[in-house]
Symmetry: C2
Subunit: 205 residues, 2 copies
Amino acid sequence: TVRNLAMEKVAETVKFPCKYASNGCTMRLLHTEKRIHETNCERRPYACPCPGTSCKWEGPLDDVLNHLLTAHKTITTLGGEDIVFLATDIHLPGAVDWVMMQCCFDHYFMLVLEKQERHEGHQQFFAVVQLIGTEKEANAFRYKLELVGHGRKLTWEAKPRSIHCSISSVICSNDCLIFETAMASHFGDNGNLAINVTIYKTSYY
Amino acid sequence: TVRNLAMEKVAETVKFPCKYASNGCTMRLLHTEKRIHETNCERRPYACPCPGTSCKWEGPLDDVLNHLLTAHKTITTLGGEDIVFLATDIHLPGAVDWVMMQCCFDHYFMLVLEKQERHEGHQQFFAVVQLIGTEKEANAFRYKLELVGHGRKLTWEAKPRSIHCSISSVICSNDCLIFETAMASHFGDNGNLAINVTIYKTSYY
Ligand SMILES: [Zn+2]
Ligand SMILES: [Zn+2]
Ligand SMILES: [Zn+2]
Ligand SMILES: [Zn+2]
């Protein structure tokens, strides 16, 4: 055990390069810090942001849009700052995802609605807008999601998250619009749900 | 059994007065309709709208406010159409209620925030505004609840419900702002949560 302690002392002071050094990361880290850094490293590859698929693609940010447009052709893209994201058949049982893209301010945004049983026996909807860009670029924007119907209105406004952050971790941190499946009946119509999505440039906001 | 059938036939056609006839209800009902009507009868007494207490008071609408001001003196009342409902110690464990009153447009409104485990193991907040008045009078108003903080905003707008409808049935029908306890951390500050409450006259809205 004396020897282990000695080894630990060495390990505690030796610094290793980040595994994304070849992507340009210059960080050198203690082995205790290495994993946490790499999970969040700005130079880590981007995973395919398309939820609910088994797509294992990952690559640089510059290739994400091309990947989506070629490998996920069913995703609709709408242009404009103010669009309607229409989710159909919201009563379908089980975990379901609805995805579309919005193009405005020379950027592409992913709009995601997820029905999920985060707590056992209690399904909820989670809706969020993510920028196909870095977390830093995302700081230049805000988005608003709005559900309207039967004299009621539910609104969520926030900064979009970068797709660098997985949709599951965005939902996990509650950084999204969350509403009850039963709540959807106030807003839905024939099993369809229209979400008004508006994107703003922060400086205009 | 022939005799029972005959009795049932009689019961199916005999009409009984509503049990709130002495309060002015003139309805006469088949015994099969009687209970449903009485649960919703406009002439039924008002129960004490104060949630989370064991108060068993009930009486006419005209006496509700007096009851609240004398029997529930700890409830704060603020005047104005646009106020801040400050809930303190929102991290207190278990089911907790926060209540205050808002006075504007010559009416009193009850503001209620409830922390409740509607689904086992999953605590949520429920916030709603109720009019101390009839459901018909409530049609003249709308209210907005707004949570703001850390670059995020969550808003709920709806018609206030009459206190004639119990808070539990309002929550049960999802006719309120619902948010995760974890969501409160985006908006709360030192365990306190400020909810901006605005009441509108429908005609101004
Ligand atoms: Zn790195
Ligand atoms: Zn993909
Ligand atoms: Zn009656
Ligand atoms: Zn009472």
